[in-house]
């Protein structure tokens, strides 16, 4: 029964996800709550959430193979499997978000490189190739290839979350996004969340052999540092625009902190995603299960950060009175994701789990894993 429970949970998730994906193909976007004044909703937030997770997971492999952190090397295949899985989930989610899904390859065929979105897609592709090559190197017992691929991927893993941040940061019309700190925030947010996810996986899904406790302890320390660093960056992001207490940006931030969805920031992000993990890591540094739990919380609750990055800026009308000028359900300034949108996210999560599981199962069968169960 204990072994069956994860499978049952996964089956439920996958089933809900399949319904969502089916509806996405058959009913177009009728069932989604986003519109034209809030054009980007849960799917875009989920997309950058997964993209960040992928980058952070990749960093673990880079630390092991390129920077010679030996204690992390055994966990690198697992980190790469997670990086690949999260990248796949990210791309599928954003693909679902397109109005013309069949035209997705236009970004390769006729890219416009003044757009950060075009840059991001190209960087993703290059990055995905390095992930696949690194995994291929592990499969074929070719550490040189893995190392080279990861070395090439190191600048990419800095640039692509940066480009994702710039995708938002360059939009002059959105006062909350248009900030030079955004690319940096995206990079560190990605590293923090992805690193946390691998820490969780390392704590709960790897063999408890030699080096296990040491490795999880080290990952917990790094995670604690990243959490503190992220809080400092977030302080910069919030405190500067709020200083004068005027303007759009201030209003948007007040909406984040004290608006109708205040709990997304205070409860999901700050309490569960930051403070509880920090306490777990600070008080129980040698307890791998506590470290793993901290990793799970820090990684999963990061979706709250992504939601707060994407949505509140759009909730501010660009022109006062526009909402009353022409009434339509797509022309409003409030947004709550529908069950349909959540079910598509369930599809992405299930897909990520399936990809990670399949890659690890395959490498395990080929006896290429040192530690992963």
């Amino acid at each position: 029964m204990k072994r069956a429970l994860p499978w049952i949970l996964f089956a439920i998730l996958a089933l809900v996800g399949l319904v969502g994906a089916f509806l996405r193909f058959t009913s177009s976007r009728d069932l989604a709550a986003y519109g034209s004044y809030i054009p980007w909703g849960l799917w875009v937030a989920t997309y950058i959430f997964f993209a960040g997770l992928s980058a952070g997971a990749y960093v673990v492999a880079v630390l092991g193979y390129v920077f010679g952190v030996e204690r992390l090397k055994p966990i690198a295949p697992m980190a790469l499997a997670i990086a690949l899985a999260c990248l796949g989930a990210a791309l599928v989610t954003v693909w679902f978000d397109l109005g013309h899904m069949e035209r997705v390859f236009s970004v390769f065929l006729r890219p416009n490189f003044t757009s950060m979105m075009a840059w991001m897609v190209w960087l993703y592709t290059a990055y995905a190739i390095t992930v696949l090559l690194a995994l291929y190197g592990i499969w074929r017992n070719h550490p040189g290839l893995t190392r080279t691929a990861l070395m090439v991927g190191t600048p990419l893993v800095i640039f692509y979350p940066g480009a994702a941040g710039a995708l938002f940061g360059t939009v002059v019309a959105q006062s909350l996004w248009h900030s030079p700190v955004f690319p940096i925030l995206f990079l560190f947010g990605g590293v923090l969340s992805g690193f946390s996810l691998v820490t969780f996986a390392a704590a709960y899904f790897s063999r408890k052999g030699a080096g296990y406790s040491d490795r999880v302890w080290l990952m917990g320390r790094i995670m604690l540092g990243l959490l503190v660093l992220y809080l400092i960056l977030e302080w910069a992001e919030y405190s500067i625009p709020m200083w004068y207490q005027v303007g759009h940006e201030y209003e948007a931030l007040m909406g984040v902190l004290f608006g109708p969805f205040w709990y997304v920031f205070w409860v999901f992000h700050l309490l569960l995603g930051m403070l509880v993990p920090m306490l777990l890591l600070a008080l129980l540094p040698r307890n791998p299960l506590a470290t793993g739990a901290a990793g799970f919380l820090a990684a999963s609750m990061f979706l709250a950060v992504r939601l707060n990055l994407v949505i509140p800026s759009q909730v501010q009308p660009q022109l006062e009175g526009l909402v009353n000028a022409y009434r339509d359900r797509r022309l409003g300034y409030s947004y709550i994701p529908t069950l349909f949108e959540w079910s598509v996210v369930a599809f992405s999560v299930a897909l990520a789990i399936a990809i990670a599981y399949a890659v690890l199962w395959f490498l395990n069968r080929e006896k290429k894993l040192e530690v992963t169960q």
Binding site: Y37, L98, H100, V107, N112, V172, G321, L331
Partner: protein, 298 residues
């Protein structure tokens, strides 16, 4: 003779001044005894004498009069025949706009806009509070910005600034990512979600007006299933398809207040050229540097 005259005038002047001072003093005195009550000055009012006006004719017969629509139509034809790329500009006189929303509807009819897609809403704002209250109406088409923030963000180059100033969209290239929607500071772009006016109503499918083709960007489009423009970003294009046929944009033609003007700013004598250089001409969110091609007279 002239001396006499001037003496006479001086005397008249003195009399007038005396009269005036007497009236002034009594008014002030009245004001004092009445303890600040409003002074009635009805006597000073005279009925305004307007020159006689022929039915349907201009107010002042001696002035040449041409309806601005006729003038703009004439200028449009001239601009198209010049052989030089025009610089299309729109001017909206907010003092003349009565907030009837005729332009919004005319535009929706012209382009067969579905629910949720709007090119030219009219923003209504109440200014002040009773009894000092007024309304401001701001029609908001696409500004056809000279530095359009919506253009560089498009990942596939499906939208661009054309030579005549109109920001075009290629519906067949747009992937529907809606990045441009987030980037427009005027929220002038809306996404076509494939909705129909008859959705959820009883009856046999769509109404005929929902199945008629429309001709944006000079091509024939039918909103069927998932075919473009369904799934695309959409916005005002100054009725490019009408301009190609020598017609003014539909919002200009339909404006009952004659509050919307359109023309070629490359022609220094055109109506719009004169209007955009008035001191009361302004543009929305000027501070962003987007250089809109739509001016407002305030």
């Amino acid at each position: 003779m002239s001396e006499n005259n001037s003496t006479q005038q001086q005397a008249d002047g003195l009399d007038n001044r005396r009269d005036f001072l007497a009236k002034f003093a009594s008014t002030v005195f009245a004001g004092m005894v009445m303890g600040g009550a409003a002074v009635k000055a009805e006597e000073a009012k005279r009925p305004l004498q307007l020159p006689t006006r022929l039915p349907g004719g201009p107010i002042q017969a001696e002035l040449e009069y041409e309806d601005v629509l006729v003038q703009m139509q004439r200028e449009l034809e001239a601009a198209l025949q010049k052989g030089r790329t025009p610089k299309w500009v729109m001017v909206i006189d907010t003092r003349k706009c009565v907030g009837c929303h005729a332009c919004t509807i005319a535009c929706a009819v012209e382009n067969k806009l579905p629910p949720g897609v709007v090119y030219r809403p009219v923003i209504e704002e109440q200014i002040g509070e009773y009894p000092n209250v007024s309304w401001r109406f701001t029609p908001r088409p696409c500004m056809q910005c000279d530095k359009p923030p919506c253009v560089p963000v498009c990942p596939v180059g499906a939208t661009w600034k054309s030579e005549d100033g109109i920001v075009d969209i290629d519906y067949n290239a747009c992937i529907g990512c809606r990045y441009c929607l987030t980037a427009c500071p005027y929220q002038a772009r809306t996404s076509d979600f494939g909705d129909h006016w008859t959705d959820g109503t009883p009856g046999q499918g769509k109404m005929p007006y929902e199945e008629l083709p429309m001709f944006e960007y000079g091509k024939e489009w039918k909103r069927e299933d998932h075919k473009s423009p369904v799934g695309n970003a959409r916005k005002c294009h100054f009725c490019r398809h009408r301009l190609q046929h020598g017609l003014l944009p539909q919002c200009v033609t339909s404006c009952i207040g004659r509050a919307t003007f359109f023309g070629d700013a490359n022609d220094p004598n055109s109506l719009v050229s004169q209007l955009i250089h008035k001191p009361n001409a302004t543009r929305l969110k000027e501070e962003l540097g987007t250089e809109p091609r739509v001016y407002y007279l305030v």
